[in-house]
């Protein structure tokens, strides 16, 4: 199963590199083709895979730490607070390369706020995290709406940025995101066993030697960082973080050691395939926003699983 998935992944990667609005002859590259392949397409394909992996991974962790099947980067306020910075940066005309930085900063700010709100007498519990996330999400979304309204000249830029996508990718961005993902993945994977225990009640987990509050805080902070980095580079790509972990739990079991891995892999696969479709499906070079394809591919598969193997999703 794992090998099959890797195979599919590799084939999708290859296909994504060769398909596109301009044809590429792999054995007979012209200079322009090489330019397009290595300068534009390959980084974009890899980037979409990394972002997909980031979103899948963060969703997997959020659902566990918040103990809620509806938890994702939206409900925790992480996506909106990062998006807020980007929107303001775009609206205020801050130079391009700084936009992800500003987004990251507001994302971190949001994280801090949610974290402070969720803590109660030093403890952090799922219900409080949810309530605090709601607050953050409300406030950030309100400010984003205001920016859309107030900076009307930037409205279309803002809306399309928010829609998310891999617009202009260079190796530099990839060099930022890949290490962030790799670091986060390693940090989580090293704690996969402990993370599993968060599915138990707090006392059981704690008496097994897991510092539940610290682990929850840690997982929350790292997942939010992932989301902030992803959102700051690509805008809001919804639902990947929500459905991919459910799909993986249903297919590969609840064990977080698998869920972390498969959520990343399936997230990468989904986003890579969706982006390839998004840029090739309409003849004439027009691109669909990737979120549309993601939703249709992912949503369709989720629907199929929901019809066929409902038990594996969530206890209840």
């Amino acid at each position: 199963m794992k090998r099959l998935l890797w195979l599919i992944f590799a084939m999708t990667l290859l296909g994504s590199c060769l398909l596109g609005s301009t044809v590429i002859h792999p054995f007979n590259l012209t200079a322009v083709e090489r330019d397009i392949l290595f300068g534009l397409r390959l980084p974009r394909v890899l980037f979409s895979a990394v972002i997909g992996a980031m979103l899948g991974l963060s969703g997997s962790v959020y659902q566990l730490t918040l103990k809620n099947p509806l938890a994702d980067s939206f409900t925790t306020g992480a996506a909106s607070s990062a998006a807020l910075g980007a929107v303001l940066a775009i609206a205020l005309g801050i130079p391009l390369p700084l936009v992800p930085l500003v987004a990251l900063l507001t994302g971190l700010g949001g994280l801090l706020l949610v974290y402070r709100l969720a803590r109660q007498e030093g403890f952090i519990n799922p219900v409080n995290m949810i309530l605090a996330g709601i607050v953050m999400n409300i406030v950030a979304s309100a400010v984003i709406s205001f920016a859309k309204y107030y900076f009307e000249d930037s409205l279309s830029s803002i809306v399309f940025w928010l829609m998310g996508g891999f617009f202009v990718v260079d190796w530099g961005k990839l060099l930022v995101c890949l290490p962030v993902f790799a670091a986060a993945y390693l940090l989580f994977a090293r704690r996969a066993l402990q993370l599993n225990l968060l599915a138990l009640d707090e006392h059981s987990a704690q008496s097994l030697g897991v510092n539940v509050h610290r682990l929850r805080s840690f997982a929350f902070v790292v997942a939010t960082l992932l989301v902030a980095v992803a959102v700051s580079h690509t805008g809001i790509i919804g639902f990947v973080g929500l459905i991919v972990p459910h799909i993986c739990r249903s297919l590969f079991g609840s064990d977080m050691r698998h869920n972390l891995f498969y959520s990343s892999l399936l997230g990468a696969l989904l986003l890579m395939a969706a982006d390839t479709l998004a840029r090739t499906i309409i003849p004439g070079g027009a691109e669909l926003p990737v979120g549309i394809i993601t939703a249709l591919l992912g949503g369709g598969f989720f629907l199929y699983l929901l019809q066929t193997r409902r038990e594996g999703f969530w206890h209840g």
């Binding site: 566990l64 066993l193 059981s204 739990r249 594996g312």
Partner: protein, 245 residues
């Protein structure tokens, strides 16, 4: 010596307060906590296990203050069976029991030895047939036994078991109690079935309204003491079924 010491423990929550002036539990002792509902048995257990921060007093294990023992280390010293437990993901019985090996993990995976031990633990608690069943599809008593298996799998020298026989049928209760009696672990367990406790435990803490009423060995557990603890009339020696494992 791996003794558990409690001094001047104070804890309050809402209108409830717990006070325990001094308590020593020696290694290998089997201690039952008796007392009526709401007298603070579970609270005391959580305090002893370091899950609740006390408002005052000190707790120490093997001469070391509990606060100074890092959480990961504690899990190798104490295991806790909470009164209620939950599992939100559809984990299998085997996976849940395997979790018990967490404090002894090497690196980031369970070893073959861990799996082997878990299988043995399942067999010990008569759960082998259920190993692959999702935890959520068990009967109440089966769930409870799975959690017990998880706790025993932790192989800690000190076990806090909150009502270990709750929801268990008599055979399993007996099996488990005699199993526990024969093991070397220290056991501290609130129990409601006094006759069962009397048979298998050797020391009794009688709790009432958050205060320690008495701390007696088995032969001093008199009907009078029990009557005072529970406000009931107690007699001995009357006809009843006796179950033997």
């Amino acid at each position: 010596m791996a003794e558990l010491r409690v001094d001047k423990l104070r804890f309050r929550r809402g209108g409830f307060s717990l006070e325990l002036d001094g308590l020593r539990i020696a290694p290998g002792e089997k201690v039952a906590i008796l007392g009526e509902n709401g007298c603070g048995k579970s609270t005391l257990l959580q305090l002893l296990a370091g899950l609740l921060p006390p408002d005052g007093g000190t707790l120490s294990y093997a001469g070391k203050p509990l606060k100074k023992i890092p959480m990961a280390r504690r899990a190798q010293l104490f295991a806790l069976l909470p009164q209620f437990s939950e599992v939100i993901f559809p984990f299998s019985v085997f996976e849940v029991v395997l979790f018990g090996r967490f404090p002894h993990r090497q690196g980031n995976a369970f070893t073959a030895a861990d799996r082997q031990l878990s299988k043995e633990m399942l067999a010990l608690l008569d759960l082998s047939d259920l190993a692959e069943r999702p935890f959520s599809q068990l009967s109440g008593g089966e769930k409870r036994r799975v959690m017990l298996a998880r706790v025993l799998n932790q192989q800690a020298p000190l076990l806090y078991l909150d009502e270990p026989n709750a929801g268990l049928d008599i055979r399993h209760a007996l099996e488990i109690f005699s199993l526990l009696r024969e093991r070397t672990e220290t056991i501290v367990a609130p129990v409601h079935d006094i006759n069962l406790a009397h048979r298998f435990f050797e020391r009794f803490l009688l709790l009432k309204n958050g205060r320690l009423l008495a701390d007696v060995p088995r032969d001093e557990l008199t009907p009078e003491l029990l009557a005072e603890t529970y406000d009931v009339q107690v007699a001995t020696g009357t006809a009843a079924f006796l179950f033997q494992h």
